[in-house]
Symmetry: C2
């Protein structure tokens, strides 16, 4: 099993599959299926087996010829790779309908991902209260100070579109390193800040395009 190292040159498409691999091996271990192969992996997660083998080859020798992959070793390898042994505190900005759902989303059920605090405009009646699970919801005027006083480097952005760039600027200035962006705005941030965007309308439009043009896809 390779030593822990950083992988800065992995293809982006491979990185996006890492959580799927991790979840699969976790489930195999839970189900006491202690070895598997690329064909079985392919069937279970819907990624073709050549892609699975190519992805795994980027990490050196994860499997053994004639044996396949050891579920326990691979689970621990992908957990380690994803930094899953380390807790991550996250700030949520924007507690509207979507923000409320994210506040209560079970990110932490199987992973060490915790929304530690949330923020919104003082006009939001939830400001000054806590979520069901006890996450405090603060006035967004306190955002910069509270982030500076915390170890939080990760933010989830679910504010109104018109505010998204302004809030992103504050986040960058207070040392946030990564933003999960639920607004449909392309955020202008420095190169060292990572932005992962989820645009729900775009996902639905893409789905419908595939439906309308499905013959070969």
């Amino acid at each position: 099993m390779p030593e822990k190292e950083t992988y800065s040159d992995l293809p982006k498409a491979t990185v996006k599959r890492l959580p799927q691999y991790y979840r699969l091996f976790k489930k195999l271990v839970d189900d006491k299926i202690m070895r598997t192969n690329s064909r079985e992996i392919s069937e279970k997660i819907g990624v073709d087996s050549a892609t699975v083998r190519r992805d795994f080859s980027l990490f050196g020798e994860l499997g053994r010829r004639g044996y396949g992959y050891d579920s326990l070793s691979l689970r621990d390898f992908f957990a380690n790779l994803l930094g899953n042994e380390v807790s991550t505190n996250i700030a949520l900005i924007g507690v509207g309908n979507l923000g409320r759902a994210l506040l209560n989303y079970p990110f932490q059920r199987r992973n060490k991902l915790h929304i530690a605090m949330a923020f919104d405009l003082p006009s939001n009646p939830l400001v000054g209260t806590k979520s069901e699970s006890g996450i405090p919801i603060y006035n967004i005027g306190e955002l910069a100070q509270r982030l500076c006083d915390s170890d939080i480097e990760t933010a989830i952005l679910s504010v109104d579109t018109v505010h998204s760039q302004d809030v992103a600027n504050i986040l960058v200035n207070t040392g946030i390193k990564g933003i999960l962006n639920f607004t449909p705005v392309y955020l202008q941030v420095p190169d060292n800040i990572v932005v992962q965007s989820i645009d729900l309308t775009k996902e639905l439009q893409t789905l419908i395009f595939f439906m309308n043009n499905a013959s070969q896809l």
Copy 2:
């Protein structure tokens, strides 16, 4: 400008950018910026300009050498391509925290995407009521019959993980052609059904991986 046709062999990555192109040209027209070029497009949506030119070349001659791209023509071209002139009715299955947020999400603000009905287990107190915007929330026991009686071919799935495959099976049997899947389950469906998955934990894990391995990404 090319005639309307179907594009069944576009690269998946290109298809996923189509809604971004559409939104950009829509905004340019709204802002009265009537022509643009691949460099400006690149800066505004964060896709490199060679990729923009390669994507556009898949549709024939969208621009003119020395002139660039005409915002109005391109807006209409992408609207047409995405089927945006046609209304799409959608069923939402699962009205928990995330489902409620999706019920109130402004999919329809600028697009003809309408959630027409929603479903959940009878234990959900929202069953039998309507959303703020008047979308009826039915007992999931009525799912098959109500879908069969409707023209709905698109579903959003935000049920508990344990129910997702069972509900997907019902959807497939009632003629649904596409599923936007918010559960972390890889759905087993026939080849002619399109599934687009959004796994929020996976997105957050991917973001954190990029943050931890950011030097070259």
